[in-house]
Symmetry: C2
Subunit: 228 residues, 2 copies
């Protein structure tokens, strides 16, 4: 039995679908540069640019778009057409306009938890975009606080909890990324719950198992109700 | 005499210099496209793209960079070289790496106010970039809370104050933008203090005078101490 007082949910791929939209965007990008390299090579190249740019750009769709433009320059050795650049910007803007599709049972679980716990959204990405998605999701009224984080390291979580006056031992984080939602929270003394999503961004993958008394893995968000 | 309990400071061009860096970046951009249009025309074109993109991109340097790319496509009717695109990305990245130069007397004033008021930073822009600047400024320890806002409308301020449990009548906002830092705060019942900066982004300019019992204009941040 886990006894947190404050429960934070990751947003992308925990409350609503996200990664498939990025996959689709990357496929569109690859199709533009079919003549230059295999999809696999191109995807790796995008990832390299994203990771290299993280310290300056952070997470989110604008950073992703700028990294796609850089990838296109690298792929074509700067011999890219303005039309192709225009198409890349369009891929980014389409991502920013995707509908918000909730994952199954999200609303029922929030309804059940509301009033019993202080509920928070803790997410990375573009500020404007995450606010837009939360608004479009219709879930805003379930949450006491929305935190768009520039990263999800132990330091970032500690700062957030300090600011919100939450002892780590009262704090549970629920999300689809072991790397960002679970590990750092366990390491600062909180509770971590993993709900896998069927696809994970390469940057978020880890290749070891977690065993920890404050850790729980569940198959779906509905099962969160069983561990509280 | 103004009697707020919580004082929020805008960051860019209130705590540290910012707009001159953007001006310099725009001049570099204009120089790249000297053959296509006058600087004045190009600057207006960038602004048009920025304003058109605000609902999707929000504020900040990544949005600015993407709008510069769009402007370049428009200027050249998509006949732009990869090298020029690369230079535009570089202009954006240089902006993200600018040193943080405090305005005069900022630290002395914060030192004086600390302990007497709850101090907040309330700023727009890129999440990552604003956190970086606050860190580099060395001012972080003066503030109870850092709020990077996706916009500064009445609704945004009301939401923030609600979340932080601050009655508007206890809240004072200090900044260089009448449009973003003063007007919306006055309209929701807070106190607004304007400290002009020598140059203002065209988007933030308003062409009327403000008269309001909760409004004060001062010439420098030091004068804030006289009105409290």
């Amino acid at each position: 039995m886990m006894k947190p007082k404050i429960i934070a949910f990751d947003a992308d791929d925990t409350l609503w679908h996200n990664e498939p939209y990025f996959d689709e965007a990357q496929e569109k990008f690859c199709a533009l540069f079919d003549n230059y390299a295999s999809h696999q090579v191109i995807l790796q190249m995008i990832l390299n640019h994203q990771v290299k740019n993280l310290p300056l750009y952070g997470f989110g769709i604008k950073a992703f778009t700028l990294s796609m433009v850089e990838t296109a320059l690298e792929l074509t050795q700067n011999q890219i057409s303005g039309n192709a650049i225009e198409k890349i910007l369009k891929i980014g803007k389409e991502l920013l306009e995707k509908p918000v599709e909730l994952l199954p049972n999200v609303e029922a679980v929030l309804q059940e938890l509301k009033g019993k716990y202080r509920l928070i959204v803790a997410t990375k990405g573009d500020l404007k975009d995450q606010h837009r998605k939360l608004h479009d999701s219709g879930l805003g009224h379930y949450f006491h606080h929305i935190e768009v984080m520039s990263d999800k390291t132990e330091v970032d979580y500690s700062k957030m909890l300090g600011r919100l006056d939450i002892p780590p031992s009262d704090f549970m984080m629920i999300g689809n990324s072991l790397k960002s939602d679970v590990l750092p929270v366990l390491n600062i003394g909180g509770w971590g719950v993993h709900i896998p999503y069927h696809t994970t961004w390469a940057y978020e993958r880890i290749d070891f198992e977690i065993e920890h008394e404050n850790f729980k893995a569940v198959a779906t968000i509905k099962e969160v109700l069983n561990i509280l």
